[in-house]
Structures are given as C-alpha cells and as structure tokens.
Symmetry: C2
Subunit: 346 residues, 2 copies
C-alpha cells in the first residue's frame, strides 16, 4: 500500500493557520489506500528565541527522513532581518539542493488583478534556487566606519545553470505552447550573462520543438504588466526569479493564491512546498489569511510525488472556490479550508 | 550673458529622431539672452563598426568641456550584447561619476496605464549609479566548459551609499509628502543590506521631518502595481533601481514618457540626461517614436542647470499635450516635437 511521510513546518504568524487548512485538504483528497503520516517541526522565531537555533544538522537529518516538506511561513519582526531567512529558509534550500524553484502564475476566472482588462495569464517561472547572489558569498570590511566596503558575490556554474535550464526546457516541452523565455541582464552582468545565455542556447538544441527567446529582467517587469500573455515558461537566476515571481503573483491574483515548490528533482533530498507569501504578522491569529496559496502548494507537492489526479482535483477546487467568491462576504481561513476539503472529497 | 554648452549624443535607432525634437523644444523654451551651443558626437553602433571604439579617453576629455549631455539611445542588434552597454553607457556613468540616477514617475491625466482604476502615481526613484553589481567586478574561469564558473561582484561602499542616500533625503525633504523608502533585499544580501540599512538610518537622523520606511525589492514590485501611491521618493541600489524603474515607467504611462538624469551633483563632471527607453530598432526611422521622454529629459537637464521656470514650462507642455491626445489619431515624432515647441514658446 502507498504512503506519504510528510514533514510539516507551520512556522510563524499565519503559517500555523494556513498549514492546518493545507493538511485538511490533503487528507480529504487522498484515496483511502494512501497512508498519510505527518510529523510537525517547530522551526521559526519561537524556537530561535528559546534556543538560538534556526536549523541544526540533527534537524536536517530528521527532515531528510520524509518524502516531502510542507511549510507555512517563517519570519517575525522580533528576529533581526536575515537571521531566519539565511539561517533557516536559505539554509534548507541549499542543504537539500532545491535547485528548481517552481512558481506557477495563473489568473483564474473571477480573481481580481490590478491590471486593466483581465489579461490571460498562465505561465510558470523556473527560478534557480542554489546559486546566484543567494550563496552568501561576499563580506564586509571596516564595518560601521565611513570606509566600510560590503560585497555580494553572485556565483554561477555551468553545472548549476545547465540543470535548471534543462528542467525548464522539459517543462516547456510538456506544455501546449512550448515556449521558454530566458530572463537575465546579460548586457550588464556579462560574466554570468554569457554563461546563462550560452548554456541556454546549447540546451535549446536538444529541444527543437521549444520556441525560445531572451529578455532583460528590467524589460520583463514591463511585459509582466503590459503583455503577460507572452510568457509560457520562464527560466531565470535566483535573484531575478525572486523579484519577478512576486510581481507575477501580484498581477495574477495576489500572494493569497501564489504557490511554490523548492524541488530537488533527483529525489536525493525531500522537496519543500510553500506559499510565496510570508508570515504576515499583522493579520496572524485572526483567521483572515487566505489558505489557497498553501492548498495550491499541496497540489504541487502531490504532483511532485506522482499524485497527478489529486493535484488536479485540488487546483480545480481552488479555481471553483475563487470563482464563487465574487461579491460574497469574506470567509475565515478555516471556512475556506473547509469548503475546499468538501470540494476535493466530492 | 548666460549660456549652455551642450554635448549631444543622438546615438542609435530612434535616438536620432527623438533628440532632434528634444533640441527643438530646448531652443524654443530658452529665453533670448541664453546662448545655446551644441556639439554633436557620433557615439554608438556606427562608430563602433567603423573604428572598434566605443568611448576613448579623448572622447571623455571632449565631453568634459560641456555643461551637460543630452543622449538619445545607444544600442543595436548588430553589436554583441554588452559591448555598447559596458563600453559606452556604463563607462560614461562611471567616468563622470554619475552616482545619482534620477527617474521620476508621474502618471499624467489622460495617459494610459496598464493598471486598473487610474491610480495616483507621483514618485521619484533615486538609483545609485556607480556601484552595486554594475561595477564589472567578477569574472569567468573555465569558460565554455562544463566546469565554467562565472561571478558578478556587487561592490557597495559607505562613501558611495551615503552620498546617494543623502541626496535622496534632500529630495524627499523638498517634496510636500517628505517620505523616503529604502528598497533593498537586506534579508538575503545581508552584507550589502546591512551597509545600506545602517547608512540610511544614520542619515535619517539629519532629516527628522522625512518619514522613512524600508521594503524588500520583491515586495516593492507588488506595491508598484497594487498601491503605487504609497511611494514618494525611493532610494535604491543600481540593479534594483534598474529593475523597478522600468516597472515604474510601465505603470506610469510607459517608456514613451519616462525621463532620466545621470547626475554628478558636485558638478565636477557634466551630468547626462536621457530617456529611459532604448534605441528601438524595430521602429527606427519611421517617425513613430514618442519624443516626450527625451523632451522631459531636457526638462530635467534644465532644472539641473538652474532653469527651473523653463523646466516647469516643458513639463506643463508635455502634460497638456498628453491630455489632448486621448481619442486622436497618432502623430509623428516631428509633429509631437513641433506641438511641444509651440506650447513652450507660447
Ligand atoms: C524570505 C526570502 C529569503 C525568500 C527569497 O528571497 O527567496 C522569499 O522572498 C521567497 O521568494 O521565497
Ligand atoms: C542599457 C543598460 C546598460 C541600462 C542599465 O541597465 O542601466 C538601461 O537598462 C537603463 O536602465 O538605463
């Protein structure tokens, strides 16, 4: 019989609330014969304040025993900026080699967008997750003085770029439009830019059916608001991916519905799925958070583990739920979770 | 008697066409007693193909003899990506220490925006122009092999950050709302992030009337489409500034009206003014380009040289011209230039 052994990290702020709904929907959608086991981990601000720890080697060993990880959100104003981001979120992505950071953007019917004229939006960003300016390379000299110099080093390797570019080509190949756009800034960041561009062009030869193009990251932000329909699959560097996926989320319904997967395609380490949004301390504990982004992250998780039909059922349920919201009073986090659980079970 | 000694760089593609209109409006707006002298320089793709040169020491010496520089656009598909950008545009910004890259965004009445509901947009981005990932630091090893490693180093100095932050505070102080937002990614790029944040907080003490806040660059792209009215003045790093000002231009009427100044506030070197848009080879030579961005760059140039009344007259003229366009057939580059020249002279 089949089983899913899931590590659950509710985390901080609204993380707790949205993860509870994600698990509710997960339980509801799984067939009877699939045994779901979950283990909760207490990472985040509370543990950091109590122990000074963010993520230890023992934690990584424990997480490694699972098929996948579901995360709510990590981060709290009581912790200095960077401590939990670098000490937990990024540490985990790097330790588990989550080099494919998958972020789909789809504007669903009835969902509000800040763009005029309800454009068609349906694309996926494949963001590199283990290189670029995110490596923590760099440093500071003469800190706090008028002669301080701080550097940040973007590290890009042929190995790291090629594997994510190949993953993106495969995803583009599997979609009806079969189009892949490389987003970079190769006219200014010429060292990294040449590497990305050359690897992209080389891998393109293996995928003759995929149409390709290139645009600079600054121009990409223009297209995301003036012509988002031009995008099908985008592959890009870690930092550019961070920036354009927040914009992509904003134009395609907001971060209330933006899901993401931090994927290790080889399966050597468990992949992690999380909403794009943060812990939103301002609305935490009030039942106001929309759990849809977490529920959609559960769908990505199921697809990653091979449960395609269940993933699609979740996506359809969220889509139907969003379409029915128009003009109705706002529901609580739990009410939305309950409604989705009913839909996916039906 | 007063005089303006202007270096003019029409450049490539539509650069020629829009600069001609910029000069036309400049001549029309200047009072009789101001003597305008212009000298044209032939930088760009043509010169590069003919001589292999982009910008020599002798060129820099010649440019230095002027009060300011007006540039159309540089760049052509016939030149490999990066050659003219690094060899001309960035070389000039670095050589003339253009550390304040000023990019105002204002959604004028009647101007189309991709955002629903015609929001209020009136802010200025002060982008650092001589540091960050734009320094050209970095390199490549094992180029073209499967073991290639390419790095890009973002260099940030207390000296460089403080002067641009102070400039931004002064600009915020001079505006009615007196609000300054620092945009960075200090939770991930912690070395540069701490430097920027600390310098920002330190300089803030000198400007007690200015309200400050901080947002991450990814979140900034969300606000730019969901709540652009929250911004008054933004100060940010070279790369983040590049990205968010293209988005800012897109939401506030498009790059047809986005002006910029590459400013050396000390006056040691001439400042350069240019539209945010590029050379647009696809529409070059057809009289289709909107010269408004160049004309608005002329206004920034005049303000920089102390001609405040003339700068305001140009801005009012462009504003009136844009408002009158609604529902009318498109005019040529020259027709728009003529109309603006008439308006500013009247
Ligand atoms: C919180 C932060 C470390 C993270 C990132 O920059 O990757 C977040 O913005 C995201 O996009 O997942
Ligand atoms: C052409 C390029 C070098 C330039 C930049 O990146 O600064 C442009 O995008 C700009 O914003 O002026």
């Amino acid at each position: 019989s089949r089983s899913i052994n899931l590590a659950v990290i509710p985390g901080d702020g609204i993380g707790q609330e949205v993860v509870a709904q994600g698990l509710k929907v997960l339980s509801a959608v799984l067939p009877q014969d699939v045994k779901l086991e979950t283990k909760e981990f207490d990472f985040g601000a509370k543990r950091y304040h109590a122990t000074g720890e963010t993520l230890t080697e023992a934690d990584l060993d424990a997480l490694k025993q699972h098929d996948a990880i579901l995360l709510g959100a990590i981060g709290d104003p009581s912790v200095p900026s960077g401590v939990l981001e670098r000490g937990f979120l990024l540490k985990l992505r790097f330790a588990f080699d989550h080099h494919v950071n998958l972020r789909p953007s789809k504007l669903l019917p009835g969902v509000a967008t800040p763009l005029a004229g309800q454009p068609e939006i349906d694309f996926v960003v494949v963001r590199e997750g283990t290189e670029g300016p995110y490596t923590g390379n760099g440093g500071t000299i003469r800190k706090g003085t008028e002669h301080e110099v701080a550097t940040e080093v973007s590290v890009n390797t042929a190995f790291g770029v090629e594997r994510v570019v190949r993953d993106a080509f495969a995803r583009a190949q599997a979609r009806p439009r079969k189009k892949l756009t490389l987003v970079h800034k190769n006219n200014v960041l010429t060292f990294a830019g040449h590497l990305w561009t050359n690897v992209f062009n080389k891998v393109a030869e293996e995928f003759p059916e995929v149409t390709t193009d290139y645009i600079h990251v600054d121009a990409a932000t223009i297209y995301l608001v003036t012509d988002p329909a031009r995008f099908d699959v985008i592959v890009t560097d870690n930092l550019f991916g961070d920036i354009i996926t927040d914009l992509a989320a904003a134009v395609s319904g907001g971060i209330g519905v933006a899901a993401s997967g931090n994927i290790n395609p080889s399966g050597e380490f468990p992949s992690m799925f999380e909403p794009v949004h943060g812990s939103a301390p301002d609305i935490a504990g009030q039942g106001k958070a929309d759990p849809s982004a977490t529920v959609l992250s559960v769908a990505l998780l199921l697809r990653h583990l091979g449960y395609e039909a269940e993933a699609a059922r979740i996506e359809d349920a969220v889509s139907a739920d969003l379409a029915e919201r128009v003009g109705k009073p706002a529901r609580s986090t739990e009410e939305i979770g309950d409604a989705l659980a009913v839909r996916v079970a039906g």
